[in-house]
């Protein structure tokens, strides 16, 4: 029962409308970041890039970026490692508690992040750990590692276990199989999981709010400025953060394309 041309057109327009609405707030933020006036009001009369200059020169901003970047980088590396093994337990091996494990993994994703952040704060306090950006890494991991696992698991579902079994029959041990067969097959999933992990950690606010202690990440600082009154640096830094994410995604896509092209041309030579 193929849809009629009219249905198709209406749904297409609806889809475009939804995309437009999703990004409309970012358009406003973008305009606000290049408005010259200290107090924003539309329509914007004079445009200027001076806020970008101020942001780039500010030492506070450099510290914020460094904190956010350290947290996101460490969370990415750890999430990918945990997700590699987690996805095998989730999708590949048939073990007794597989379905319990699958359901367990979903719990932190459902959990309200504000409450999780506060719970961790009390737990760190009970342990006598002073919160800093390092404790925020732990908080991010609880939420991001399960998401990364799900992403790798989708990839793990689609590969043929016969490949691993064949390697085992030929005498390869488990470590060799993981390194030579499983890892390369899961690689695309691991790359997208890493990308997700980095970006989700980079943008996360509710978990960071309670677990970074005296340190502050970029979203935390933006929020503090937002509620304490308008500052022209908020839209500017917000846009810079978004542009950074987009550049990262584009780099990842370009990289993936490059690898595919090289592989294809090699395959063509043989």
């Amino acid at each position: 029962m193929p849809a009629s041309a009219l249905t198709r057109a209406v749904l297409l327009i609806y889809g475009l409308l939804v995309i437009a609405l999703l990004y409309l707030p970012l358009v406003s933020v973008g305009f606000a970041s290049v408005s010259k006036a200290r107090y924003l009001s539309f329509p914007i009369k004079r445009y200027s890039y001076k806020w970008y200059g101020e942001v780039l020169e500010s030492g506070t901003v450099r510290d914020l970026l460094l904190t956010s970047l350290s947290v996101a980088a460490i969370v990415t590396i750890l999430s990918v490692v945990i997700a590699f093994f987690g996805a095998l337990a989730f999708a590949r091996y048939d073990w007794s508690y597989r379905s319990t494990f699958q359901k367990l993994i979903l719990l932190p994703i459902f959990f309200p992040q504000t409450v999780l952040g506060l719970a961790l704060l009390m737990w760190f306090n009970a342990l006598g750990v002073i919160p800093s950006w390092k404790t925020a890494v732990v908080a991010h991991l609880v939420w991001i590692a399960p998401i990364a696992t799900l992403i790798v698991a989708i990839r793990a579902y689609s590969f043929d276990p016969a490949l691993e079994e064949a390697a085992r029959d030929m005498g390869a041990n488990t470590v060799t199989i993981l390194r030579e067969i499983t890892l390369p097959l899961l690689m695309p999933g691991l790359v997208s999981a890493g990308l997700f992990a980095f970006l989700l950690s980079w943008g996360n606010f509710p978990l960071s709010l309670f677990t970074t202690g005296a340190d502050s990440t970029l979203p935390e600082w933006l929020y503090a400025k937002m509620v304490s009154g308008y500052s022209p640096l908020v839209p500017t830094l917000g846009i810079l953060s978004v542009v950074g994410s987009i550049l990262l995604i584009l780099t990842a896509f370009a990289f993936g394309w490059l690898i595919r092209t090289i592989r294809d041309s090699r395959a063509a030579q043989h």
Partner: protein, 284 residues
């Protein structure tokens, strides 16, 4: 082979389980213990008492809980209606556009929720993107829709759209085209196909989507704070205030426990009814 599978399964689940034990279950136990401590203490070495739970009823915190649950329910219903045609399009109608839509929606997730909600404030406020331009062109402005319950619900719909859209699209893609075609050939109306074929066969996706968006919306803070101007206080906001300004950890913990129990039982109920292998496309 089965024995080896079992051993590898246990071993490879260990890193994740270690994180869970250290940073998920342990904190939850601490929260539960703190919730039965006397008011305003900061250590667990006190005689238990349940006064914090009494405060929940006496000081009207149950109102915040009801607001949170009510707004979560409203936003879930709106999301279901808004996302269904789009999810249907993604699963059955669009071809290349499905990928475009997926990428566009996922990318929006990577922008901090704060910035996106702040963008809505700039868009909708008096003198904002919409009102400012309309007044400049026509001379007449309008009152800002910000700072009320409807805008908070819209904010929830906006932020949690991906969590309804993707499970729903996945669910609808599990409805076989043959079944829809057969029903149509036998003379079923569009409405009959919708209620008797689409909805029952896409049920797992509907359940997951509704559950995710309801649970996430019930624990939300930022929408009410940034868009709602605290016209309504949500339960998560109360929890935050109890910990920060209130300096009352036992009260904050008791409120958390109540929210966790509600959300947790819903999540467990839903998750136990869904076959993840099937939804995520296991072939064997």
């Amino acid at each position: 082979m089965q024995k080896l599978n079992n051993k590898l399964g246990y071993l490879s689940s260990l890193p994740m389980l270690a994180i869970f034990a250290m940073a998920f279950f342990a904190p939850l136990i601490v929260v539960a213990l703190f919730s039965i401590m006397p008011p305003k203490v900061f250590s667990l070495s006190n005689a238990p008492d349940f006064s914090a739970y009494a405060v929940f009823f006496q000081q009207g915190y149950y109102k915040s809980l009801l607001w949170s649950l009510g707004m979560a329910l409203a936003s879930t219903l709106v999301l279901l209606v808004v996302c269904w045609p789009l999810a249907f399009g993604m699963a059955k109608v669009f071809k290349g556009f499905t990928l475009v839509l997926t990428i566009a929606v996922v990318m929006s997730l990577f922008v901090s929720e704060n910035i996106r909600l702040f963008g809505w404030v700039l868009t909708l406020m008096k003198g904002g993107l919409i009102e400012g331009h309309i007044r400049a062109w026509t001379g007449n402005g309008f009152d800002s829709p910000l700072y009320g319950v409807p805008i908070i619900i819209s904010g929830l719909v906006y932020v949690y759209l991906p969590f309804m859209l993707f499970p729903l699209a996945q669910g609808i893609s599990m409805v076989p085209d043959d079944a829809r075609q057969a029903a149509a050939d036998l003379g079923a109306t569009r409405w009959q196909i919708f209620t008797q074929i689409d909805i029952p066969l896409a049920a797992p996706g509907i359940v997951v989507g509704c559950l995710l968006s309801f649970v996430l919306a019930a624990g939300a803070v930022a929408e009410a704070k940034i868009l709602g101007g605290q016209a309504v206080i949500t339960i998560a906001d109360d929890i935050e205030t109890a910990f920060t300004f209130g300096q009352d950890w036992p009260l904050g913990s008791a409120l958390s426990v109540i929210l966790i129990v509600i959300i947790g039982s819903l999540a467990l109920f839903g998750v136990s009814r869904v076959d993840l292998d099937k939804i995520m496309g296991r072939k064997r």
